[in-house]
């Protein structure tokens, strides 16, 4: 089929560019390559190990909060899978790569992984910019790519709703996008603080922060129309000094301050805000605040609204009721001395999504499946994870429930926690965009 694209017309045009003889040889080469790619596959299950490439931040500011926990979790999961006999009998041979170095070099690396190293799958990407640049490569180069952590809600969306899914045949995101946290925050505020009048926002000045605030603002205005937005601040990412921002928030009189900040920025901001007395006057609502009470420690203020990027929390689902979470938390804590933050759960979801999809495809085709068949098996897949049951929609985007709670100091931990019994769970259908709709259109369609 692809051979038809290189028809005589384009041939003649190429001739005009580069001379007849040379182009003819170019054409022959190109068609040859295409033919090779569509040659019939061997269906028997190979003895060789599966080549799995993991790409996440191993250096730079995003490595501590996301990349390294994610990479750790990938390692634990791969070991566990190999211990139990691998995926459909094939062991996993995992190699980690650093996501640092910019989108440009990530595109080059992904190309190398797919075309030169011929890996079976790439699991990875934290930065939304990287996801946006690399998921199109899945279909362009014919490589299976599962994005595991990046949050941008537009990744799998098209220009106009309703749209047909999926956007990328071989590209997936095995976690829900940033909209769930921000919609859940708005719903939580509606439920527990319906009388709030003034809200403000402080978000990092790049796509992640802009998108997070945009979704939150839309949702809260729909749910609580009387709320007034008194200030929106856009600190540069990796800002070291938030004094100007904190003073500005204090002067605005906001009661609730929305923030989607992450990593060292959140820690820096929180500490400086404690020092300048912000928490005495306002309450933070952090869309991805889950890792930070543990990072900051006992200084982290109480009664702050925190969201868990889904239901990823080491205390939820309660370990006595959901053994999978108990085992995962225990394994992770034993290996790395910390409770797994949400990126670790996201890594679990990505690698197990691949495992379940391959096994489903193997049982369906009765042999080793092609990448396309694995993708078809992954679409609509549903399986158990430490955080509950994860479903991957037909748009190749996962859907999750959300846990929102408030920090509280307890005796058994040296940092404030969210008590599951005092938190709110928002079921997936209340916070996840339906398949085939754009998130903004979906929120706009809500009845007030």
């Amino acid at each position: 089929m692809d051979e038809k694209r290189f028809n005589r017309r384009s041939l003649l045009k190429q001739m005009g560019l580069a001379g007849a003889g040379l182009t003819a040889s170019g054409l022959a080469g190109a068609t040859y390559k295409v033919r090779k790619a569509t040659a019939a596959e061997n269906r028997s299950i190979p003895k060789t190990p599966l080549k799995v490439a993991v790409v996440s931040f191993l250096s730079g500011p995003a490595s501590g909060p996301f990349g390294i926990p994610g990479n750790n979790s990938f390692k634990i999961c791969a070991e566990e899978i190999n211990k139990q006999g691998g995926i459909a009998g094939r062991k996993i041979e995992m190699k980690s790569y650093d996501e640092a170095g910019g989108t440009d070099s990530q595109v080059k690396l992904a190309r190398k992984l797919i075309m030169d190293d011929k890996v079976d799958i790439i699991l990875g990407y934290i930065s939304s910019a990287d996801c946006k640049a690399i998921l199109p490569l899945s279909d362009e180069l014919g490589g299976l790519i599962f994005a595991y952590d990046c949050g941008t809600h537009v990744l799998m969306e098209k220009e106009k709703s309703p749209y047909d899914v999926p956007k990328y045949g071989l590209g997936f995101r095995t976690a829900a996008h940033l909209a769930i946290d921000n919609i859940a925050l708005a719903r939580y505020i509606q439920k527990h603080y319906p009388d709030v009048k003034k809200v403000a926002g402080i978000n990092q000045d790049y796509a992640w922060g802009r998108d997070s605030w945009m979704i939150f603002e839309r949702a809260i205005k729909k749910l609580l129309p009387h709320v007034e937005v008194v200030k929106t601040l856009w600190p540069q990412i990796y800002t070291k000094d938030y004094t100007a921002h904190i003073s500005s928030l204090l002067s605005s009189g906001a009661e609730i301050v929305h923030s989607s900040m992450w990593g060292g920025d959140t820690v820096t901001f929180t500490k400086q805000a404690i020092g300048m007395g912000l928490f005495k006057k306002a309450r933070m609502a952090m869309s991805r605040g889950e890792p930070y009470p543990q990072e900051v420690g006992e200084d982290f203020p109480e009664n702050q609204i925190i969201c868990c990027a889904g239901t990823h929390y080491f205390l939820y689902p309660p370990q006595d009721k959901w053994p999978l979470n108990k085992k995962f938390v225990a394994d992770y804590h034993k290996a790395y001395g910390k409770y797994p933050p949400y990126p670790a759960y996201h890594a679990y979801q990505a690698i197990y999504a691949y495992k379940h999809a391959v096994e489903k495809a193997v049982s369906l085709v009765g042999g080793w499946p092609t990448k396309k068949e694995i993708a078809m098996a992954a679409s609509g897949l549903s399986f158990e994870t430490p955080s509950g049951i994860l479903t991957i929609g037909k748009d190749h985007n996962a859907r999750e429930d959300v846990l929102v709670g408030e920090t509280k100091k307890v005796k058994s931990f040296d940092f404030p926690i969210l008590e599951p019994e005092n938190s709110s769970i928002f079921p997936a259908h209340e916070v996840n965009t339906p398949v085939g709709l754009r998130t903004v259109d979906w929120i706009d369609s809500w009845e007030a």
């Binding site: 190429q14 560019l17 650093d98 080059k108 199109p136």
Partner: protein
Amino acid sequence: MDVKSAIRSPKAFVYLAVFVLLLPLANFLSPYQVMLLEAGITLGISALGFNLLLRYTGLLSFGHGALFAVGAYTVGMMYKYFPALYSIEILIPASIIVSMIVAGIFGYICVRHTFIFFAIITMAVSMVIFTLLLKFYHFTGGSDGIHIELPTMLGTSYTGIKRFEFLSGPYYYFLICIFAVCVIVMQGIVNSPFGKTLQSIRDNEVRAEMVGIRVKRYRWYAFLVSGIFTGLGGALYSFINGHVTPELAEWIFSGEIVFMTLLGGFMIFEGPIIGAILFTYLQLYLTSWTEYWQFAMGVILILLVLLLPQGISGGVADLYRKLKKSKTREIS
């Protein structure tokens, strides 16, 4: 040098030979290698433009990354706002015009300075362009950048074709031809009276001023031409990478342009091109070979400056000269 003798010179034969060798290369290399080579060639076009300032005008710019980004973003913006005009015959002139305009303003601020002042000012202005690309989120896509679709070429649409097939097929030949044109045009420029004027300004600014050359004006022209080449390189690069981000305008990338030019050897006309291609391979293989590629890159750079100041091409030329000398000595 007039046209006739230029064609007859041995250099022209070498160029022709390289051109003829490059053309069928797409069939022998894997598509992946072709894409790498193409990235190197587009960077080479940019470095050629950069070197017009460094080698022939004596100005070291530390902000050419921004001009590269301008060329690349022009392509992205055209797709976003004028999808009907998204064909390569329009995109290339458009990016040339836009880079010329931006280089005009950029250069106007900068050419009043020389030496280290020029380097710092170009860096500052390039950071302005960087923050604008980053800040005007709704217009430029912010830090996420813009995805670059495959353009139509000579009326043929390539939608549905995989990018690597486009790149290792029709686009390769197109790029090689543009590359050849760029090299010939730049050769012409540096050998023209204009090029000689620039070199006389570089060698002695006061004397040039004395004989009636309007120094700043000429520097500004050089900046314009340089910006056009760099922007054109950026536009051509965008199709290969498929995605542009503001990082291209950051000063680190500007530094890399200086790096590749000196790696190849900036005293020789073709040096920057060799350097750009080598740099592309070096960077890729270092990043996939070791986690500490940054360290390796830094050490290579320091060693290069200390031990091989004339770059690869200069080093080879030196070696050749020495060999020749020792040979003649043997005979005598």
